[in-house]
């Protein structure tokens, strides 16, 4: 039997979470940091040992310790990348909360470590109900994180977050029960190749959609996100934007598309329309925000809309792009929330108008913020460019109209991000207290520098991230190919001419012949 590395990755933060409940503030911080770093090391080990081009499911573990479902873990390339994202962001979250959280530190760290267990669990589950348990359980620590350590309106936000996402998910459970009953198995790899009847698929797809669309979040069920983001503590926002939003996209890729290809094809336009509205509408809303966190929250909704559109393009490019946007957005929006957190810790306000001219007194901060702003816009050389380009290229094969609208969204994205950056970092130092803020300290460097490095890495050499997923996405594309819908982009490949375009035909041939005769 192989070494159960995935179980170990679940066990380490779990042990840390239990320990933190009983520890004092300082020890709890240290324990949490060590536990997340150990998990990061294990994650790196996982990546290094992942056999690219090998079996589809690797590091599989299985134990029949429950009735009705099994404890089955295993990952493919897509899950590997998302697990890496989670374990990478976690130590940074702990660092971000180092000083910002001063009350009930042990419980806070415990909630975060629990969150990490559940996120890894979601991505590593190979059993449908195990997936559901991890998926749903994330509500509990997040509810506490928002409710106990959040801002002024935290109670409203925590309720809204919990009930919205719960209402979305419960119908998925019924759909899963029906599927398990119909297919006679709860094993995800088996279900991926099980063909449900198209009529049933429609209902199942809708039930899953309800859950993933809320998690994603897609317009019009996105309204919980700005509230939750704004009220959550910085690290909570990072995890929410960085990983939790990816659960929806992961769900679409793992469940909706391969398990219900016909229904997915049937609902493609529905998803496209929602995505187009989301890209334009939320970008416009982001333009008028006066609260930094709210602005980034709306930008998340817009980015996630590109993910959904890319996924439902039904081709490898679109899906690869969607996953890359998820990874890139996870890093970049997380980093942007950290940037907001850095100045929030100093001035305790998120009002954009209270800042200005930070480039003068916080030049290093301004540099990082600039990098992440550019990455969020999708500047070539940064992570988001790769993903957005691929997603839009894949989408273009399907529909020029959708691509046009989504690309407009990216232009609007540049507008609101640059406008934000101008107001916060450039311009005059209008407020005394903002002008006196010190630049980044060592801890903040340690938070932002690794993300900046990852953002550039992903932008310059995306192959490291695409390679593990390529085979899985190709398999997914092959699986859904039979249902792939036809759309307006006419990409029928013409028959190539025999010769170059400047070939003059007969005369030229003759001339060459003569030449040869000489």
């Amino acid at each position: 039997m192989e070494f159960p590395i995935l179980s170990l990755m679940l066990a380490v933060p779990l042990a840390g979470a239990i320990a933190c409940l009983f520890l004092g503030a300082h020890t709890a911080r240290m324990v949490a940091l060590v536990a997340t770093l150990v998990d990061l090391a294990l994650g790196v080990l996982l990546w290094l040992n992942y056999d690219i081009g090998g079996a589809q499911w690797q590091f599989t573990e299985r134990a029949e310790i429950f009735a009705g479902f099994s404890y089955a873990l295993g990952i493919d390339g897509i899950a590997l990348m998302l697990i890496m994202l989670s374990v990478f962001l976690m130590p940074i979250c702990i660092l971000a909360s180092w000083d910002a959280i001063s009350k009930r530190v042990g419980e806070y760290m415990s909630a975060f470590l629990l969150m990490e267990v559940l996120m890894i669990g979601v991505f590593a589950s190979q059993d449908m109900f195990l997936f559901y348990i991890f998926f749903e359980a994330g509500l509990i620590p997040m509810y506490l994180i928002i409710g106990v350590w959040g801002g002024d309106n935290r109670i409203y936000a925590s309720y809204k977050f919990f009930l919205y996402t719960l209402l979305g998910s419960v119908l998925m459970l019924i759909a899963m029960l029906w599927m398990a009953n119909e297919a006679g198995t709860t094993d995800i790899p088996t279900l991926l190749n099980y063909d449900f009847s198209p009529q049933a698929q429609t209902w199942l797809w809708l039930a899953f959609f309800a859950s993933f669309a809320v998690k994603m979040p897609m317009w019009p069920v996105h309204t919980w996100l700005p509230d939750a983001h704004v009220q959550a503590p910085t690290a909570g926002s990072v995890i929410l934007a960085g990983v939790l939003l990816k659960l929806g996209g992961y769900g679409f890729i793992r469940f909706s598309l391969p398990m219900f290809p016909e229904a997915s094809a049937q609902f493609t336009w529905f998803v496209f329309v929602l995505s187009m509205i989301a890209v334009i509408y939320t970008s416009l809303v982001a333009l008028v925000q006066s609260d930094m966190k709210k602005l980034i929250a709306y930008s998340s909704v817009a980015h996630m809309a590109i993910v959904t559109a890319g996924i439902f393009a039904f081709n490898a490019q679109g899906i690869e792009g969607a996953v890359m946007v998820m990874l890139g957005h996870g890093l970049v929006s997380g980093a942007l929330f950290l940037c907001v957190g850095v100045i929030y810790d100093r001035l305790h306000t998120r009002e954009i108008a209270r800042y200005g001219g930070l480039a003068i007194n916080m030049p290093r901060y301004a540099l990082f913020f600039l990098l992440f702003t550019m990455a969020s816009i999708g500047l070539p050389g940064t992570s988001n460019f790769v993903g957005e380009f691929l997603a839009l290229a894949g989408l273009y094969k399907v529909s020029t109209l959708v691509t046009l609208v989504c690309t407009t969204g990216i232009i609007l994205g540049a507008a609101y991000m640059l406008y934000l950056y101008r107001r916060v970092v450039f311009g005059l130092q209008v407020n005394e207290d903002a002008a006196r803020m010190p630049d980044l300290n060592a801890r903040e460097w340690a938070m932002l520098a690794p993300i900046a490095a990852a953002v550039l890495w992903m932008g310059v050499y995306p192959e490291s991230f695409l390679a593990p997923m390529r085979q899985d996405i190709a398999a997914l594309e092959a699986r859904v190919a039979r249902a792939a819908p036809d759309f307006d982009a006419d990409n029928t490949i013409g028959t190539p001419r025999e010769h170059n375009a400047n070939y003059v035909g007969f005369a030229h041939g003759e001339a060459r012949g003569e030449e040869g005769a000489h």
Binding site: E136, L139, Y143, G147, V148, S158, L163, V170, N181
Partner: protein, 487 residues
């Protein structure tokens, strides 16, 4: 079937009855001084009865399907499972009882005796296979319940609860009795096998009325909507340990009666009773959830929560399959742990003067004053809301699975969507404990006995509980197999 076999199969009830009678004599001679000792003996007797029932559970298949006294009583696996649950729940409640009454100066030696008689009645209820036995068990349990509800005689609310419970309970008994007489009139038998055989030949409208009346009466006992009105008042007014008892063991017993009636004598008429059960299930879920939202009193809130939970249990019954019965039993097991845990935690909430706290305002900011207790309550509340990874989720999972397997997908979908409404007030519970600022002092320590009961319940409901899913699945399947002959 010898007389000795019959006595052996009913030994748990007989043993409890004898213990109760002896304790009654002791109480009469010694007065209230020996109340504590009597409680300990009663707990021991209940645990003993539970152990005996466990032994019977394994053997029940072999010994003529556990039929005793000419098939008036059946100690089959289903009955034994229910009894284990009932006796253990009663014992757990009895363990946390004395402290509450001692504080109010009202603990009396009759209390454990009444509990024992109640337990005997409930044991008879789940095993009854004749309408007459059923009625005897039901009345034995109900009459002691009425007295228990008004046990704090000087307290107005307690007396009111007892009276209310008595009047409405008597009405329900009357309804059942009327239904029984109709069923008897149309079938000529009070025995379950006889009724089933007669219904198979001819199921007339009159008999349908009989079925409906019997079900309505039992629905009152499980406080399913629309027969739930007494529940919040009685739960609020009765002394807290009594409320804990009402919400646990008698629920199991009444649900056992309902399942047995539905799956044995009325098994051939599933279409006749299924729509009633479906209506009661959905109505209970919705009314239980909506009614709880405005409540300030925690006991009242838990009363609505129990109505809500009954709705989920009925969804399992509506499936009318062996898997459905098994899911009902699984849910009941988890439900008992949740209810006893919640009420034990409630009993541990007292101000420094020893006054019991029972409103939302009292538990504000509990997580900073009593972190351990607050975390236990968090587990209990999320469990009641059915959020994984807590074990309360498993109960919902199995009932919805049974419903989906029985092709009741719409019922399952509506039921689970309505469960989100219920999540709201459980969340409020947690919000008040964790997010609000503390407003008043609470007693900082609790006796070991309370911690032990709470600890066991919370351990079952924690994710560790999932390790129980395999044995629990086997036991409930074995219990549900008691009705296979009937199905």
């Amino acid at each position: 079937m010898s007389y000795a076999t019959s006595l052996y199969l009913t030994a748990a009830e007989i043993g409890l009855s004898i213990t109760a009678l002896v304790l009654l004599l002791l109480a009469a001679w010694n007065g209230d001084r020996s109340a504590r000792l009597l409680t300990i003996i009663a707990v021991a007797a209940l645990v003993g009865a539970a152990i005996f029932s466990i032994g019977l559970f394994d053997r029940s298949a072999s010994e003529v399907a556990g039929r005793a006294f000419g098939d008036l009583y059946r100690a089959d696996a289903f009955g034994s499972f229910g009894k284990v649950l009932i006796y253990l729940a009663s014992a757990a409640v009895l363990i946390v009882t004395p402290r509450f009454f001692t504080q109010l100066g009202g603990y009396r030696a009759e209390y454990p005796v009444l509990m024992l008689f109640n337990a005997v009645g409930m044991g008879i209820m789940v095993s009854a296979t004749d309408l007459m036995t059923l009625y005897i068990g039901l009345e034995m349990s109900s009459l002691s319940s009425y007295v228990l509800a008004s046990f704090l005689r000087q307290d107005d609310r307690s007396s009111e609860a007892g009276l209310k419970y008595f009047v409405l309970g008597a009405l329900a008994s009357g309804i059942i009795l009327y239904g029984v007489s109709l069923v008897y009139g149309f079938t000529g038998s009070t025995n379950y096998d006889g009724i089933r055989a007669a219904f198979a030949l001819d199921f007339s409208t009159g008999a349908l009325f009989g079925v409906v009346f019997v079900l309505a009466g039992v629905a009152f006992k499980i406080s399913a909507v629309p027969f739930h009105m007494w529940t919040p008042d009685v739960y609020e007014g009765a002394p807290t340990p009594v409320t804990a008892f009402f919400a646990s063991a008698p629920k199991v017993a009444a649900m056992g009666v309902l399942v047995r009636i539905a799956m044995d004598p009325f098994a051939g008429e599933v279409d006749a009773w299924r729509q009633i059960i479906i209506f009661a299930a959905l109505a209970s879920i919705v009314v239980g959830a909506l009614g709880a939202i405005g409540q300030q009193n925690l006991k009242r809130l838990l009363a609505y929560s129990s109505i809500n939970n009954v709705g989920f249990i009925l969804i399992g019954l509506a499936a009318a399959t062996a898997a459905g019965v098994a899911s009902v039993l699984t849910y009941l097991t988890i439900y008992v742990a949740m209810v006893i845990g919640s009420f034990t935690a409630l009993l541990m909430l007292r101000d420094p003067a020893g006054q019991n706290l029972e409103t939302f305002a009292d538990i504000a900011g509990l997580s900073t004053r009593r972190p351990a207790l607050a975390w236990c309550l968090l587990v209990l509340m999320f469990s009641l809301a059915g959020i994984p990874p807590l074990f309360g989720f498993w109960g919902k999972f199995v009932v919805f699975q049974a419903a989906v397997q029985a092709d009741l997908v719409a019922l399952a979908a509506i039921g689970i969507a309505a469960s989100v409404i219920g999540a709201f007030y459980y969340l409020k519970f947690i919000k008040v404990m964790f997010f609000d600022e503390p407003t008043r002092d609470v007693e900082t320590s609790s006796p070991v006995s309370h911690w032990a009961v709470l600890g066991v319940c919370v351990a079952i409901l924690s994710p560790l509980g999932y390790l129980l899913t395999i044995p629990l699945g086997e036991w409930t399947a074995q219990a549900a197999a008691s009705f296979v002959a009937a199905m």
